[in-house]
């Protein structure tokens, strides 16, 4: 009796989660993709124009703002990768030295507890041309230093990269530190006995051993880059001009401002496509790595 009863209840308990997944995720994704194939403007219109269903996508790729957003996405991804490198260096140093580990970890990680809006406000203030860090350097007599990055479309993305690196390095440091601590100490002693230089131990033994951690970091980094929105709102609001637009920013702007639903849906669908194209290989590679690791351990 108990078993029959138990068969049904778990499935009933799962019903809310299944319903949410079906409606809020799968159904909604299908809904948005459907909208992207129509010519809906302010209100949804579900008739697909079969003669030219990809019209919105063509418009999208002809749109200057979208192309800027795409190239900024790549710039931000490359720039933010510095956070992984920086995070690894910090983790390796903390792990080597061990003195002050708790202190340094706490300091490097606190930006993660802060809203990106606050982060953006703080960095925008630091980059303030007349009162911020630039005027500090000028008052020291170094008048050739320019930190007026946010006012120039060519440098504004670098300011955003700096703020994102500041915000996320601690996070990668924490992941890397966990990865480093999992490495068998005997590998160190063996390598050192052989007289291998320290940097070569890291480069040739440790980093290859931490492939899985690096892959995880890469996945999370690209996820963060595609989602990047708050920091843009707080630091530049897309400006100057359209120079700091990103796909997430472009899509929200199209959704809320233009009253061009089908076009915005096409942008959202492209964001999903980018996610799939970037993640599927990374996630599969990670799963494969994990399996290989388990196989080696067992």
């Amino acid at each position: 009796m108990g078993i029959r009863w138990s068969r049904l209840t778990p499935q009933l308990a799962l019903a809310p989660a299944v319903a949410l997944t079906a409606i809020a995720f799968i159904g909604s994704i299908g809904w948005t993709i459907l909208l992207s194939l129509t010519s809906s403007r302010r209100l949804p219109d579900y008739t697909i124009d079969w003669s030219d269903p990809l019209r919105q996508y063509r418009r999208l790729f002809a749109d200057l703002g979208w192309n800027i957003a795409l190239s900024n996405l790549i710039i931000l991804a490359i720039g933010s990768a510095l956070a992984i490198v920086f995070g690894f260096v910090l983790a390796a140093m903390i792990e080597r030295e061990r003195r002050g580990e708790d202190f340094f970890r706490t300091v490097f990680l606190y930006p993660l507890a802060i809203s990106l809006i606050v982060t953006g406000v703080a960095w925008r203030w630091i980059f303030n041309p007349s009162l911020g860090i630039e005027s500090f350097f000028h008052s020291l007599g170094m008048t050739w230093v320019s930190f007026n990055w946010l006012a120039d479309g060519r440098t504004a993305m670098y300011a955003i990269i700096l703020a994102s690196v500041w915000q996320s390095s601690g996070f990668y440091m924490a992941l890397m530190l966990a990865g480093l601590k999992a490495i068998n100490v005997e590998i160190w002693s063996a390598a050192r006995m052989d007289g291998v230089a320290l940097w070569r131990v890291y480069l040739e033994i440790i980093i290859p051993m931490m492939k899985f951690t690096f892959l995880t970091c890469a996945i999370l980094l690209s996820l963060g880059v595609i989602k990047a929105y708050d920091i843009i709102v707080a630091m530049t609001n897309g400006g100057p001009g359209q120079s700091t637009w990103l796909p997430a920013y472009f899509t929200i702007k199209a959704m809320s401002a233009k009253g061009n639903l089908a076009f915005a849906s096409a942008a959202a669908a492209m964001m999903l496509a980018i996610t799939v194209v970037v993640f599927l290989p990374l996630v599969l590679l990670t799963a494969w790595q994990q399996r290989a690791r388990k196989g080696a351990a067992g």
Binding site: A24, R98, A113, S115, V121, A122, I126, S189, T275
Partner: protein
């Protein structure tokens, strides 16, 4: 930095040449300290600017300490500063954020814990497929489901209220949290459940009497993860909160980006700090669980 000749016991397993330790240690500590200073710059600048008078700020020395420490900017940011068309300060957003936080926490943790428990410990035939689906959902960008969710919340009659924001937080957190709970519960020996079922324990009784009391650690980790992510959220609040239920982050963003006339930097910085303080307090008090939460949220399945 003082040098101790013997390393802490149990940390170093192999002999290192003594002479080289000193120089390298000092170099590492100097580098780490400089990095720490870099990380502290924004917080330092936020704090000092928020206590300065505008007269001192206009002098342009961003790193100087306040000549006169004044709480005026803090009071103004909390009580009077204008955000959009209303000028009630941040206190309204603070209350909204709290009102969003509690239902979001309860709903998201309840649904994810129960789902994770059912998937981990009860042999549901389609559990594997559903878990994989949840794993994929965890990566979906918000923008692709944003418009349908707006339509759904409008039809539910909650759009523009704290309930819409809480509902969306629950929906978006569900995949990741379920995976975290499931991973935690799957290590519970199935014999415990079998014995409990024999003992006429039902699905819910086992959950409440056996599983929940075992979940203390994971609950704290998830709670901290959720508090910081809900409190720091901007996009969901601005999209679903309408004008009446904007969280503190949205008020802050409006305050600092839509300013007319002279900008009061001290007020902006005080407002930013007020928004950052709740999660920072949690971080500094419960840092250990915070790190665990990051690791749990990062690995996602």
């Amino acid at each position: 930095m003082t040098e101790t000749s013997s390393p802490p016991a149990g940390t170093v397993m192999f002999p290192r040449p003594k002479k080289r330790i000193r120089g390298r240690s000092i170099a590492i500590l100097v580098f780490l300290t400089m990095a720490a200073l870099f990380f502290c710059i924004p917080l330092y600048v936020l704090v000092t600017t928020s206590f300065k008078t505008m007269d001192q700020i206009r002098e342009g020395a961003i790193f100087s300490l306040p000549e006169v420490w004044t709480f005026e900017a803090w009071r103004y940011a909390w009580d009077e500063a204008c955000s959009g068309i209303t000028c009630e300060g941040l206190k309204r957003g603070f209350v909204n954020s709290l009102e969003i936080l509690f239902p979001s926490l309860i709903a998201s943790i309840a649904i994810s814990a129960v789902t994770g428990y059912a998937l981990a410990l009860w042999s549901v035939r389609w559990a594997g497929g559903f878990l994989f689906l949840l794993f994929l959902c965890a990566f979906v960008p918000f923008q692709i489901i944003m418009y349908p969710l707006i339509v759904i919340t409008v039809n539910m009659g909650i759009y523009g209220s704290i309930w819409a924001v809480a509902f969306i937080h629950t929906v978006l957190a569900m995949p990741v949290l379920t995976l975290i709970f499931r991973n935690y519960y799957k290590d519970i020996p199935p014999d415990i459940i079998k014995a409990a079922v024999m003992d006429n324990g039902s699905f819910w009784r086992i959950f409440i009497e056996i599983i929940l009391p075992m979940s203390g650690n994971i609950l704290i980790v998830v709670l901290i993860m959720q508090i910081t992510s809900i409190w720091n959220d901007y996009l969901i609040g601005v999209t679903f909160g309408g004008l009446g239920a904007q969280p503190m982050t949205v008020n802050l963003a409006n305050m600092v980006t839509v300013t007319t006339g002279t900008v009061s930097y001290n007020v902006n910085m005080a407002a930013a700090l007020q928004t950052a303080i709740p999660p920072l307090v949690i971080y500094f008090v419960l840092g250990k669980f915070f790190v665990e939460g990051i690791a749990a949220g990062a690995v996602k399945g």
